[in-house]
Amino acid sequence: MPDPTAGVGIELSDVTKRYPGQEHGAVEDFSLRVEPGELLMFVGPSGCGKTTTMKMINRIIEPTSGSITIDGEDVLSLDPNELRRHIGYVIQQIGLFPHMTIAENIATVPKLLGWSKARVADRVDELLRTVALDPGVFAHRYPKQLSGGQQQRVGVARALAADPPVMLMDEPFGATDPITRLRLQEEFRRLQADIGKTIIFVTHDFDEAVRLGDRIAVLSERSRIEQCDTPANILADPANEYVAGFIGRGAGLMRLALIPIGEVPLEAPDDSSAALGVQDSLRDALDLLVLTGGQRVNVTDESGSVAGSLTHAGISAALGAPRLPTGTAP
């Protein structure tokens, strides 16, 4: 048995959900393998079946046919309540229990699993710290006393409470304002780097998918997989018109945001230019070039000394051969 807290693989084969009286299934013949510790994004428009697909994994929705395994075990053969206690679940509306304190909310699954009081209390403390909420301040508050962003952090903490190997997240940051959203995404990315769960994350926001996902599954009607690949590959080479349309404009900028400056060759520095660190992205470098109007931007390494510089041409080169938009006259 591997470390129970690390992620395990999920495999969906020919999963179909058909509601009675409807000609087409909501989800048809969906097959996909999620690797252990992977954060897989389901991206698609509203009503494409991405949420339905995800909810079949913890059997909130029962599949009509097909098989789903987690760590090789067929979920359809397990008791659904027992199954759900070992899958973290975060929904957009958060669904905190308003009559319970934050601590009681987080303790829900551990209590269902029969943990001792002391163990539950320790875990609640640890989790509140993990999601950057001071236990002394927040443990005994009620959900309505928290802001939307704080509530969503509690939602994530509650889903992590019993250290499940698998997490299902349904637009968890969808209802927060843009600034809170960015901060929650950033925190979540750091958290996932630490805990390495296997996560299926549903969103309709392609930017969010690029920012967080190890891989992205772009879905169309009836949960058809149009493309499933890393963000960089999808941006560089969309499989078809549908995917290209979903990415929209700005694919180049999104790709630049994924590439740290440290990964591209640098030219010699000049003394006058503004500087960025090697851990910043090429998008930051381009941003600085546009803002300063200069020819190049200097790059400093971890120790703070100047390591080289970047130009517009260097940044473009990082995206590979220049790709002219089709239909443009030379």
Binding site: R84, G95, H99
Partner: protein, 246 residues
């Protein structure tokens, strides 16, 4: 600041009983100044008053308790079935119970069955069933779907969802229904006198029939005082029991 708020709350909390005591005191003081004839003195003595009040309270409290025991589980079942038809039928039956005039139910039951306490109790239960049923059903229905889904998604069994999430969240509405039922039944219990089931209705009806204004007045004031005090006590319980955080 908090001291002032606390004082104001305490004041509000005790205004009702103090007012009731003042009114009762005034009525009894007035009765004390009267020259009671033989009919009046047979009724307006401590023993008679206590007996009628006790009968009235027993009718009210027992019928409300029965309503709680019957209507809340019925509502939970109707909620569980998730069928609109079942819900409509249950609410419809409750509506019929309440729409029928209480006097009619009491008299009819007495004719076809028998007179006395049990009959009065049955008609009170029929009459007060609806508010508790409807409030319980409404309370359960209005629990946020996301809250319920989160509970289910974390692996609570349907029973755990009911006891830990739905009933606590619905409790303020359920309690409000019970409070309504209690106050209803104080009023309706006065009708019990027509089928020889006692209660303060005896004094009101006798006072009217025998044209003894003092008897009528004392009976009516006592009924009103009980209704007000029960509502007040139920309010205190509601405040105490309501889940925090709502």
């Amino acid at each position: 600041m908090t001291v002032h708020t606390g004082q104001r709350n305490a004041l509000r909390r005790f205004t009702t009983p103090i007012a009731v005591v003042l009114v009762l005191g005034a009525v009894f003081a007035w009765v004390g100044t009267l020259d009671l004839d033989s009919i009046e003195s047979r009724t307006l003595n401590a023993e008679h008053l206590l007996d009628r009040t006790r009968e009235h309270l027993v009718l009210t409290v027992v019928s409300s308790a029965l309503v709680a025991v019957l209507a809340i589980p019925t509502a939970v079942l109707a909620h569980r079935v998730r069928s609109r038809i079942v819900k409509a039928v249950v609410i419809g039956l409750g509506n019929i119970g309440q729409a029928t005039p209480a006097v009619g139910v009491v008299i009819l039951l007495a004719i076809v069955w028998r007179t006395g306490f049990t009959t009065a109790l049955v008609s009170l239960v029929a009459y007060c069933f609806l508010p508790v049923l409807r409030n319980t059903l409404t309370g359960l229905e209005q629990v946020d779907a996301a809250t319920r889904e989160a509970a289910r998604g974390m692996g609570m069994t349907p029973n755990q969802v009911l006891w830990r999430i739905e009933l606590p969240l619905a409790s303020p509405v359920i309690l409000a229904g019970l409070r309504t039922a209690l106050v209803f039944s104080v009023g309706v219990a006065t009708i019990a006198t027509f089928i020889n089931a006692g209660g303060l209705g005896d004094m009101i009806v006798n006072g009217l029939k025998l044209q003894r204004f003092s008897v009528l007045l004392v009976g009516a004031v006592l009924v009103a005082a009980i209704a007000v005090l029960i509502d007040w006590a139920a309010g205190l319980v509601e405040d105490r029991v309501r889940p925090r955080g709502l």
